[in-house]
Symmetry: C2
Subunit: 343 residues, 2 copies
């Protein structure tokens, strides 16, 4: 049998013949302790297999080194990258992610409550499908919070790290226009998502500026292949478009397969523009031209910010936006080559 009762500070102190404070200080960064006692303590600790209890420390210091990570979109492959990056980045800084899965939770209040009870040092809300009121609730509770992938708001009382969705929508419209597409469809993400709304707004605005017909719009009811396929089937049943701008790569893949089953070839008969540039976008079966969202920038920035807020809770609200860019593959006609001197 093994040590079931954890060895405590007191045990080590007794063995090393010092006070409990001395042991505590040995394991506290920057505390005043002589080399001699430190060595004594470390020896005793090693021999007994002592590890300080972060729970007890948290209670005393009022810092848990836990960061809540709230998401409601577990089935979308972008979240693989998101989780991977979040966990790694937090880990590197000595923090731990406490995951909250909101995908089925009926009552977001519940999880807010849960995170508060665990006294997390901060929260990162990583979703664009929750209303800003949700992250706000944390702020009201005095918990540092970042809304990653969120909407930046004029009244902005919470930190946002993400992209300018409206500008991305404009970029999408311009891209399709430049390649000669005129009859255009859109398959957005869930209509309630702020990212969907903003991208669509930018998209339509630019189309208008360019003076072409407004796009035919559908919304996928979630970020999934089948939702994309269904939306595309619906779109095709009603209108013939030359290109489709999708609000997410997975949705786009579903839409592409729907188009193919309908006998259309990509990009000759119909073009597709995705969003996110997730890993799979490069897979040969789709080889998707898409708008790259700088996920890893967003995440490291969000982590950096939330960690900084732990020490300066009242820093003024910031919005950090990163630029998106087109990733050229083969689901759209190529851009016109700039023939110098050509007419």
């Amino acid at each position: 049998m093994d040590v079931l009762l954890a060895v405590t500070l007191k045990d080590v102190a007794e063995r090393a013949g010092v006070s409990r404070s001395a042991v505590s200080r040995t394991f506290t960064e920057g505390a005043s302790i002589s080399d001699k006692t430190r060595r004594k303590v470390e020896k005793a600790a090693r021999e007994m297999g002592y590890r300080p209890s972060l729970i007890a420390r948290s209670l005393a210091t009022n810092r848990t080194k836990l960061i809540g990570l709230v998401a409601n979109n577990f089935r979308n492959p972008v979240f693989l990258e998101v989780f991977d990056l979040f966990t790694q980045t937090l880990q590197k800084r000595g923090y731990r992610p406490l995951l909250v899965n909101l995908s089925t939770e009926t009552d977001p209040e519940k999880s807010l409550d849960m995170l508060r009870q665990y006294r997390v040092d901060g929260v990162i809300v990583a979703t664009s499908t929750l209303p800003p009121s949700f992250p706000s609730a944390f702020r009201k509770a005095g918990v540092p919070v970042i809304h990653a992938f969120g909407k930046f708001d004029s009244h902005a009382d919470i930190h946002v790290v993400g992209i300018d969705n409206q500008r991305c929508g404009q970029m999408a419209a311009q891209t399709l226009f430049d390649r000669g597409y005129r009859a255009i469809g859109v398959i957005g993400g869930p209509q309630s998502a702020t990212s969907t709304q903003d991208r669509l707004a930018g998209f339509e605005q630019r189309l208008k500026q360019l003076g072409i017909e407004q796009a035919d719009v559908r919304f996928a009811h979630n970020y999934s292949y089948s939702a994309g396929r269904d939306a595309m089937i619906d779109l095709m049943s009603e209108k013939q478009v030359e290109a489709v701008f999708c609000g997410d790569d997975v949705i786009c893949m579903g839409a592409m397969d729907a188009a193919r089953s309908h006998g259309l070839s990509i990009p000759d008969e119909i073009g597709f523009l995705g969003f996110n540039d997730m890993n799979m976008a490069g897979w040969a079966a789709y080889d998707l031209t898409t708008i790259h969202q700088p996920t890893s920038d967003i995440i490291s920035s969000a982590v950096e910010l939330v960690v900084a807020m732990v020490d300066t809770p009242e820093r003024s609200t910031e919005t950090r936006l990163f630029p998106c860019s087109i990733v050229e593959r083969s689901s759209l006609r190529p851009p016109p080559t700039d023939q110098v001197g050509g007419v």
Copy 2:
């Protein structure tokens, strides 16, 4: 400004005019408390926005309600389902997952240590690419541990929940044989993964029993599309096979695309059998015939078991295996129809 200092037990007790114990009991399941005081306390608590500190409770009860969730495979889409299910299942039972990302961690000991310091109530190690010695380390430290997707061992000192990989390998071989494939290739997952080894062993054993040529084997160096593609390119350069059994659906998709770029059509000229039956396997561009791994059974069982172990740490070691099954799609020739009375 809002309440920055959290309301404590004492504050509520004073306001309600009762002792601290009374407040504590109000928030403790099954404690002895009269309805009258409970109501008084609840009223005061509500008015002050009191939420018990789980940190303090953990310290006093020696239970954190945290379950460590260790994985090293964040980029494989199966893990979307895994995370989604794990977090939800734990949440439902009042536990929280404390995520550990081992994908880049050079030293697994570090994270073990971290989890111990947080005094997690239990650990679920969800990977087949770590040696059994890793979960064992938790056990030695007196922390309940489950190895999900792990290898069940004869000397089995840790609980394993997963599948019988060897039997699955046999099933794969039999399936390919039944459909008339004779020149067969295998693209396994990473060679060091126990799941890879076991499946391969079962596969080869069955081929031998069936008296056909041994398979040509390659290993993908990780669970990724590109690793699958590379392995397939390598395989094709050396030998012409009629069908390939892949150790994972993502690997399989990479392999399929490699075959297609090589001009082969699926399933007419080459067949593919995947593993896992992840969501994407049903996507039209691949439509993969694959072996279904009952992920959700494995996960709910693992959670159930780890939670049970919190109360009975010394329950005897269990191995829980769930059956796999073939999911018929279109990447393999159809099975021979059983012509009654036929020759």
